[in-house]
């Protein structure tokens, strides 16, 4: 039995509120699901072609290598095929597929074992013996940099910097900030305590900020030259 809040078939919060018996499928999705349940191969192909880009993009977000993302793509659709009758229609097919893809990615990352990760201590804030923040000086307006530059280049820059984070931090950031899981859900998915998830989230955001800062300042400098 697949629950709406479980990883497979997880509904977005706004979808789940007070709607236990309601289906979120309409039109195309409903037709596609009925057809898949009837075992029609053509509909399976339709599913793969329609949701393939989303599944591959999610897999590439979590996994570093294209080969791993391709394997995850196969495993995701195989899982969908095997569990299509368990789908309770409490989310859209797209959301359900995303949940399965993320789970497949996390399983793959876990299976690869803990790799030695680069230290990020130099990206974290430092404090003196009295607990005062020791920060490099920056202008009061520097936090606005980046907000004003809303381009594909900026998005790619942020994605590239997220990729530079160690796996443990990167995955926490993706689950919590990008894919919108709560801190508790993130902790459960990663098999760690809520406190540990918060610590990882804080470190990942702080490290990402430190990685972005010089790039954003450089971009702004060129924007005004």
């Amino acid at each position: 039995m697949v629950r709406a809040t479980s990883a497979v078939g997880r509904a977005r919060p706004q979808e789940a509120a007070g709607t236990s018996a309601k289906t979120y499928l309409a039109g195309d999705d409903k037709e596609l699901l009925d057809c898949l349940r009837a075992g029609d191969d053509r509909c399976y192909e339709k599913l793969v072609r329609r949701f393939g880009p989303q599944v591959l993009a999610t897999a590439k977000r979590y996994l570093r290598s294209d080969a791993d993302a391709a394997d995850c793509f196969q495993e995701t659709f195989l899982t969908v095929f095997k569990s299509i009758n368990k789908f309770e229609e409490r989310s859209t097919i797209g959301t359900w597929l995303r949940g399965i893809t993320i789970n497949q990615c996390l399983m793959r990352i876990r299976a690869q074992g803990r790799r030695k990760e680069d230290s990020i201590e130099h990206l974290l804030p430092s404090f003196d013996e009295k607990g005062n923040r020791m920060e490099s000086s920056s202008s009061n307006e520097s936090y606005r940099i980046g907000e004003m530059i809303d381009t594909a280049q900026m998005k790619q820059l942020v994605r590239d910097k997220i990729l530079e984070l160690p796996d443990t931090l990167r995955v926490t950031l993706l689950l919590r900030d990008i894919d919108g899981f709560t801190t508790k859900e993130t902790a459960i998915k990663l098999g760690i305590s809520v406190t540990a998830a918060k610590t990882r989230l804080h470190r990942s955001r702080t490290a990402l900020g430190a990685l972005l800062k010089p790039e954003l300042e450089r971009l702004e400098y060129h924007a005004y030259m």
Binding site: G52, P53, T92, G94, E135, S138
Partner: protein, 81 residues
């Protein structure tokens, strides 16, 4: 008053929903009094926003190229299972 280090430990909860009113007030007070932490909070919030913006709506199918071989392999796996 909280030290910067203590405030840093509360950051995720302070910017989220996890803190009791009193602790939230203590954090708020610290930010009002500490220019470095105020600046850090602004940059931290910007980082979170930029991260979210980088992927916009993850529910939406993205125009990413899926190699035909990958699609064919998925269809083949299904048929052979």
């Amino acid at each position: 008053m909280l030290t910067c280090k203590e405030f840093d430990d509360f950051m995720v909860d302070y910017l989220g929903q996890g803190l009791p009113v009193w602790q939230k007030f203590m954090c708020w007070l610290h930010v009002k009094m500490c220019r470095e932490c105020a600046q850090f909070v602004r940059e931290y919030q910007r980082t979170v926003r930029l991260g979210k913006k980088a992927y916009d709506n993850p529910d939406e199918p993205v125009p990413d190229f899926v190699p035909e071989e990958l699609i064919k392999a998925a269809l083949f796996h299904k048929r052979s299972n």
